[in-house]
Symmetry: C2
Subunit: 400 residues, 2 copies
């Protein structure tokens, strides 16, 4: 990706600096400054052991009027008790000082090793330096500053015309690289210069996350620090408050696309991943059971090792489908396709199926497993990757 490939978002300035939280040579601290009057929404991890910054961010966002985000890599500030909370608050206060805003207008985020205290002084020293370097051109550097062991930055953008004005959307994310930080923390920041009313934005971030980050599986674990933030700076165009307007529909579609592209990029950069697989479940009675089956298939270690081996082992697929706990599933109505190759028909091996045809699909770097439950009209999909030797190597490597 060329330098400065991401467009500017009027109303949002960024600065990345090297706070030396770990002994890295690279930037590890990102400050995002948001203009007054912007709307900010976020979703956070459901893990009961949520990290200190998550606790503080949830508290601050309740009051609205958020003006800055501070993200550090290298230390998750998780499982750090009261001192962790105090450290997160101290960072917010330092940002507030530097930007002349209130500390409760700052959302803190951390990703990295858990159970160790933040090197607070390093962050406090770096924050004013970052505040002096804020720039509207900072998105590409930002995407790199939040990486932990991601092999590449994850960025995307869209442009939409709304009421005659060109609206821009930029998204950056970090994903499932766990060698050093030991945690598959996913962080995503999406910003637009559109003006979206706060209640609409709150709904939009939930919808977007539900169609993107909540539909991917690297290994079924949820981190203590996961968060996704959506910023509408309001710098361009009219205020959008009607969820049934064509303008909002178009804008929403583009914002959801940005989330999906970032989520897929995280799966593709999953630890040791060599395959990117869509699991599509159709013919379900409802959305819940469709997702149950999709995740059971997409998270089964036996399925994931078969993906790695390019082995169209359909016995493992039916086993996983059967394990999903779908009440009253009639297995004699279940069909399974590997791309367009039917492998299971009425619960058994499809008449025309050949190992060669299945093998040809499983050998591709990207393909779709489609399960038809034959129970209804609902369909859902998730994205997953394989379990490789490298997954074990990466995750079994001693923390250094």
């Amino acid at each position: 990706m060329p330098e400065s490939s991401l467009p500017q978002i009027p109303g949002v300035r960024l600065a990345s600096v090297a706070a030396k939280i770990k002994n890295w040579q690279r930037d590890d601290l990102l400050l995002i400054d948001i203009s007054e009057g912007a709307a900010v929404s976020a979703t956070f991890t459901q893990n009961a052991f949520c990290a200190a910054p998550v606790t503080v961010a949830k508290e601050h966002i309740r009051n609205g009027n958020i003006r800055a985000l501070l993200i550090n890599a290298g230390n998750a500030n998780a499982a750090t008790g009261e001192r962790g909370i105090d450290n997160a608050r101290s960072c917010c206060a330092a940002v507030a000082d530097a930007l002349k805003i209130g500390a409760e207008q700052v959302l803190p985020f951390s990703t990295g090793v858990i159970g160790e205290h933040l090197p607070l002084q390093k962050l406090l020293d770096a924050i004013p330096v970052a505040a002096d370097q804020l720039s509207i051109d900072g998105w590409d550097n930002a995407a790199r500053a939040i990486m932990t062991t991601d092999t590449r930055p994850k960025t995307t953008s869209r442009s939409v015309e709304i009421a005659g004005e060109q609206i821009t959307i930029v998204g950056i994310a970090k994903g499932a690289g766990m060698i050093q930080p030991n945690m598959a923390t996913m962080l995503a920041y999406v910003a637009t210069d559109a003006a979206i009313a706060q209640p609409l934005l709150d709904e939009l971030v939930r919808d977007a996350v539900s169609s993107s980050f909540n539909r991917i599986s690297i290994d079924g674990d949820t981190s203590t620090n996961d968060a996704c933030v959506l910023i509408a700076s309001g710098a361009t165009g009219p205020q959008i408050a009607d969820k049934h307007s064509a303008e909002y529909e178009r804008l929403k579609a583009a914002i959801v696309e940005v989330h999906i592209e970032l989520a897929q990029a995280i799966v593709k950069d999953g630890e040791g991943a060599t395959k990117f697989v869509t699991v599509q479940v159709q013919g379900a009675a409802n959305s819940e059971e469709a997702l149950q089956v999709a995740f059971e298939v997409g998270e089964s270690p036996l399925v994931k090792t078969a993906l790695y081996a390019s082995d169209p082992n359909w016995g493992r697929l039916v086993m996983a489908i059967g394990n999903a706990g779908v009440e009253g599933l009639d297995t004699a109505k279940v069909d399974v396709y590997l791309d367009r190759v039917q492998v299971v028909e009425a619960g058994g091996r499809a008449a025309g199926y050949t190992e060669e045809a299945g093998q040809a699909v499983f050998s591709k770097p990207e393909f779709t497993i489609t399960v038809d439950l034959g129970r209804g009209d609902c369909s859902e999909h998730i994205w997953t990757c394989d379990f490789s030797h490298d997954y074990v190597t990466i995750n079994a490597e001693y923390r250094t």
Copy 2:
């Protein structure tokens, strides 16, 4: 293990023969003949894609008066539709002919590759041969005949004095060897010469399985063919029908022990497993949440790769605990111990904890992770193993 190390169970005769279901040189068909008047109970897989023999066995056991079991290795007769059911019934009929009993008095079991039809004629040819070789000394051969890719047979026995008579219990099982059959089918057969009333035996098999096979995790997948059978031949001692009698308590304890020893042997022989780990959850409000946390820890790929690496990565442990979905969990009350070394205290790193102490425990081939939730008095435990490079190699190998 020396030959013929397992004792006889009066009232139960066995024969193992080579039906050549696969191109193996070894025995792959086991016939168990049970004397008239015995009680037989069983539990079966909850997988919706249950195999044809499971469907037939569930139907037959409803009528009681079971007189024979037929178990084949090498082909699971799963995902085989109506023809699979017909094949399982034909096998039962052949056993009935050979033993002069009713076909509905036979329980069929299969383990092996799924989605392929049984080589029926080979089984029909082998069944009369087996019927001619039935012997009260057949348990050790039986344990080997039901193996698929298990690296060793799993057997155990106990002896208990009940009302002045010596009662014997024998158990054999096969476990999580998946190279060839592609499925981690668990089969277990436990027999005693005690006389146990059918309703009590039905309860006993459920209790025994719940404390043993339902508390192990190799990779979180449940097979299409899993089954556990408990036979009380009634050849020795008085009929036991009072569940509150001291005799029954003693007998039950010994039978449960046999189940637990077989379940643990399956984990220890888990594919590529190098560690045997007990996950103990205490201080839970109820048994359900204790098991939820135990399985979340014991099945997390991040925890299992850390076990393999002998890396006391307690961040992954708290992450898994936090992911278990325990409503209202107060993480500030959570303690975690590695054997006797406290690693987490009040949700954070324990004051006296050192990496060296944690490392010493994680380097052992067997140890216990204890989680105290600080919410109540309930405790539960499960047994798990690590995820190794060999797990991926074994499961990624192409079916041959």
